[in-house]
């Protein structure tokens, strides 16, 4: 049962986005998040929405998978919206009992809601189209310059990929220990939270012991296969930029520039339209 869980939320299909270099997708996601917090007018959000829609369309991943990620933050979203709505001072729109909804508050609430949901959907485009393995590879390569300031980039990436590899194994083990404890009369189901938490102790202790034993074995196996850190190591699947990745960066930078200057462009356009109308009138 636990064997079948998928890691991360990778959605297996064939698309342009899937084939992109993980570095492009990582940089793209970061740029997109920054752009969401930089823009502050309707036109900017429209561009961001269009860009996101285009990416979702290109990724061939059904839209419902994107929205799945939203479920986790519904609560956070609600709190943000409510607090912004009621607690921003300004011109009152509606007021009842002791609460007032202000015009500024409403505006801010809508803006935050859009930002947050775009942010979640935007980053799920990345996690849905990139295998965890590819993602760690991309991170290692992107963070490589940090090695100069003694950040153990290779080690971090190696730890992440080993952790990913051992998640299903440890889950299976948890399942096994749980069954063994249930067979001997342990009760994980009933009682209040404190009781349930206490019931987890006989589960966690053997799990930790076994995890340490596995770590010891794995370290020995890695050494036996001549692992000695990142220096002098070659890659079986090196990351190489292809034509599509260059186009990806190009599209990304165009989007970013448009997003940053959309306010100005609109102002100028509006000015021109107004000017024309005035002169006609």
């Amino acid at each position: 049962m636990l064997r079948d869980i998928t890691l991360g939320q990778y959605y297996q299909t064939e698309s342009v986005i899937h084939r992109l270099d993980p570095r492009v997708k990582l940089v793209g996601t970061i740029c997109y998040i920054i752009s969401l917090f930089v823009v502050n007018n309707v036109w900017g959000y429209l561009v961001a929405a269009l860009f996101l829609a285009l990416m979702i369309h290109l990724s061939n991943v059904p839209f419902k998978f994107m929205v799945k990620g939203m479920k986790a933050i519904v609560f956070l979203l609600l709190i943000t919206v409510i607090f912004n709505m009621f607690l921003t001072p300004g011109e009152a729109l509606i007021s009842f009992w002791k609460l007032t909804i202000t015009k500024e508050g409403l505006r801010l609430a809508i803006m935050m809601a859009i930002r947050l949901s775009f942010l979640i959907v935007g980053s799920s485009v990345m996690t849905l189209t990139t295998t965890p393995n590819n993602l760690t590879d991309g991170m290692e390569k992107l963070m490589n310059p940090l090695r100069k300031i003694k950040v153990p980039v290779h080690e971090i990436a190696m730890m992440m990929s080993i952790a990913l590899r051992f998640i299903p194994i440890l889950l299976e083990e948890t399942d096994k220990i749980m069954k063994a404890q249930i067979a001997r009369g342990a009760d994980f189901e009933s009682g209040n939270i404190i009781k349930k938490a206490k019931a987890m102790v006989p589960l966690l202790v053997p799990l930790f012991i076994s995890a340490f034993r596995r770590a010891n074995d794995l370290a020995m196996a890695m050494e036996a296969r001549c692992y000695r850190g990142g220096d002098g190591r070659t890659k079986m699947k090196p990351l190489v930029y292809k034509k599509a990745d260059r186009i990806g960066y190009l599209v990304l930078s165009i989007y970013f520039i448009v997003c940053l200057s959309i306010g100005k462009i609109c102002e100028i356009l509006m000015g021109m339209i107004l000017g024309i109308m005035m002169s006609v009138g």
Partner: protein, 285 residues
């Protein structure tokens, strides 16, 4: 000198109490001398705690000998500069298949060793392909190791070692956690490597059925080598093996019991065919 030579090898585990004082010393390996010829299939037998795994870890420099030393392909494992050469020459497969697979995809795991050795990318792919084919796992190259059976995982581990082009492979109880089918597959793969590629195999096990094809058998007890020879000579000493708490293969035991009750059979019968042949001969007489 053979490919692996141990000279008066000894290793002590030192147990310490919480303050770090020495509580006791266990001599896990005690004065072992081995001389293993290139291309041989060697089996090391012994019950739990006989020191066979500790011995194995000396053969590729995972443990540092307390006394004596080991030469792997003429290189002394006690010299720190030899460690990586030794580990490349003598690859090692461990007992638990889950705890030695590093990659998340079969082919990536097999590529891990060559990556560490700094082999160029193109050659890594060639090595991965040939080693997966050698153990019959090529069609699983894109699978996740979590979805393979124990025997398949163990064969992937063997492929991971072969990809480093070793001269010798040490298998430390590779079948202890497998079902009978997986056990057969792993042993078959190891024998094929020995016969086709000429790789020296050192198989550590306590399953007697696995050692009947070996060229040489060492039996260990209490950290010492107590018996050695070809399987026939070792298994003809049924009483002595029983004293060491080791079983003999079922057929050998049957032949032994028959002989004890009066049938004139020869010593150290290892396979069913041999026994049938001898019994037929007796019937004719």
């Amino acid at each position: 000198m053979g490919i692996i030579k141990a000279v008066d090898l000894a290793f002590e585990y030192i147990r310490r109490d919480e303050e770090g004082n020495v509580e006791g010393i266990t001599r896990a390996v005690d004065g072992v001398n081995l001389d293993i010829q290139a291309g041989d299939f060697v089996a090391i037998l012994g019950h739990n705690g006989s020191g066979k795994s500790t011995l194995a870890k000396h053969l590729n420099a995972l443990l540092y000998p307390t006394e004596g030393t080991v030469f792997v392909d003429g290189k002394d494992v006690k010299q720190p500069e030899n460690i990586w050469d030794v580990r490349q020459t003598a690859g090692m497969v461990f007992q638990n298949p889950d705890n030695q697979i590093i990659g998340q995809v079969v082919e990536e795991d097999v590529g891990f060793g060559p990556e560490n050795l700094g082999v160029p990318t193109k050659e890594i792919w060639e090595r991965v392909e040939e080693s997966l084919k050698a153990v019959g796992m090529y069609q699983y190259r894109k699978h996740s190791p979590n979805k393979l059976s124990g025997g398949q995982k163990q064969r992937v581990s063997i492929a991971g070692v072969i990809a480093m082009h070793p001269k010798c492979i040490i298998l430390d109880e590779p079948t202890a956690m497998l079902d009978p089918n997986g056990r057969k597959d792993v042993i078959r793969a190891a024998r094929a490597l020995n016969q086709v590629e000429g790789i020296t195999i050192i198989l550590i096990t306590h399953y007697m059925e696995e050692v009947i094809y070996a060229d040489k058998v060492y039996v260990m007890d209490g950290g010492k080598v107590v018996m050695q020879g070809n399987p026939k000579t070792v298994f003809s000493q049924v009483e002595q093996l029983r004293e060491l708490r080791l079983d003999v293969p079922q057929v050998t035991e049957l032949a032994y019991e028959l002989k004890k009750s009066g049938l004139p059979l020869s010593d150290g019968i290892l396979t069913m065919d041999e026994l049938v042949k001898e019994l037929k001969l007796l019937k004719k007489k």
